[in-house]
């Protein structure tokens, strides 16, 4: 249903219908924005990426195949734009301060278990942020967006084996970082699973 809807919107955009582009934007804006935000950890950067992504949709509308799912193509553009953004701004390791602030806001009012949750969340997020760009992107696409390995291979324009390898090493690195932090003890893992 959604595929044919995308196809219809794509053919309308080809005829210069801006409202069709807006409909497509409304459908995918949150998905694209959150992916860009998870990769760049910067709200302004994520908004710039979202904007450029849909300008590219309009520019390359004639090359899009309306019968195929649009989401992988959009994420391919998003990842490329995110890579350029990260490379240009050198902000890779800066924390997403606003989000972290929101997460840890008012810790004294939270019960102890919530405090621990927030602390564990912060540690996992920090560990993910410390991954290299290629590992982080695979983690975001796999765990946040739920793309299959084949879809991630298309998005990253690399073989499926490379995706598997990156995912494996990213998980291993994360596990090591968390174990080093003694936060992935069986008790804690059990509590949050």
């Amino acid at each position: 249903m959604s595929l044919s809807e995308d196809g219809r919107l794509i053919s309308q955009i080809r005829q210069g219908n801006i409202l069709a582009l807006k409909a497509l934007y409304e459908k995918y804006k949150v998905q694209v924005y959150r992916t860009a935000l998870a990769i760049t950890r910067d709200r302004e950067g994520a908004e710039d990426i979202l904007q450029d992504c849909f300008l590219r949709v309009y520019t390359y509308i004639d090359t899009l195949d309306g019968s195929l799912p649009l989401s992988p193509w959009l994420h391919r553009v998003t990842v490329n734009l995110s890579y350029n953004w990260v490379k240009k701004r050198h902000r890779w390791l800066q924390p997403l301060e606003g989000v972290i602030d929101r997460l840890v806001a008012g810790p004294r009012t939270l019960p102890e278990s919530s405090l621990e949750r927030v602390e564990l969340q912060r540690i996992v997020q920090k560990a993910i942020a410390s991954l290299s760009f290629k590992h982080r992107v695979v983690i975001v696409l796999f765990y946040l967006n739920g793309f299959s390995l084949n879809e991630i291979a298309y998005i990253l324009d690399c073989p499926v084996g490379t995706v598997k390898s990156r995912l494996h090493y990213a998980r291993r690195n994360l596990r090591r970082k968390l174990e080093r932090d003694r936060r992935l003890s069986p008790e804690v893992a059990y509590e949050f699973s």
Partner: protein, 117 residues
């Protein structure tokens, strides 16, 4: 890269505690995050600027418009020699008139043929 050690582990234990932790942390990090309405306004403004920068006629419609103008001039050529009082809406526009003037000798041929026969 395509080591057989990697895939079976992923397939056997796709959702162990580390997977849950990663998913949970990522989802919570971006939960409730929305782009501002300004983003769409920027997109619209950029598209407007683009459309103003490019000519209004696309390459595909230009030959058709030229053909239509020539056809209009050719049709008017039947009426012009008779000095007919045409409706002002049919009066040749400047551009059409120039085309008509250029193609007048050619457009007179059907009239000449009709007179001969």
């Amino acid at each position: 890269m395509n080591s057989p050690k990697i895939q079976p582990k992923m397939e056997r234990q796709p959702f162990d505690e580390i997977d849950e932790l990663i998913r949970w942390a990522l989802l919570d990090e971006i939960a409730g995050e929305q782009p501002s309405p300004q983003v769409w306004q920027n997109i619209q403004a950029r598209l407007m600027a683009r459309s103003l920068a490019t000519p209004s006629q696309s390459g595909a419609e230009r030959p058709w418009r030229q053909f239509a103008s020539t056809l209009q001039a050719w049709a008017l050529s039947f009426v012009a020699p008779l000095d007919a009082n045409w409706d002002p809406r049919l009066a040749p526009q400047e551009r059409s008139y120039l085309i008509w003037r250029e193609t007048l000798p050619l457009s007179m041929m059907p009239m000449a043929a009709m007179i001969i026969y």
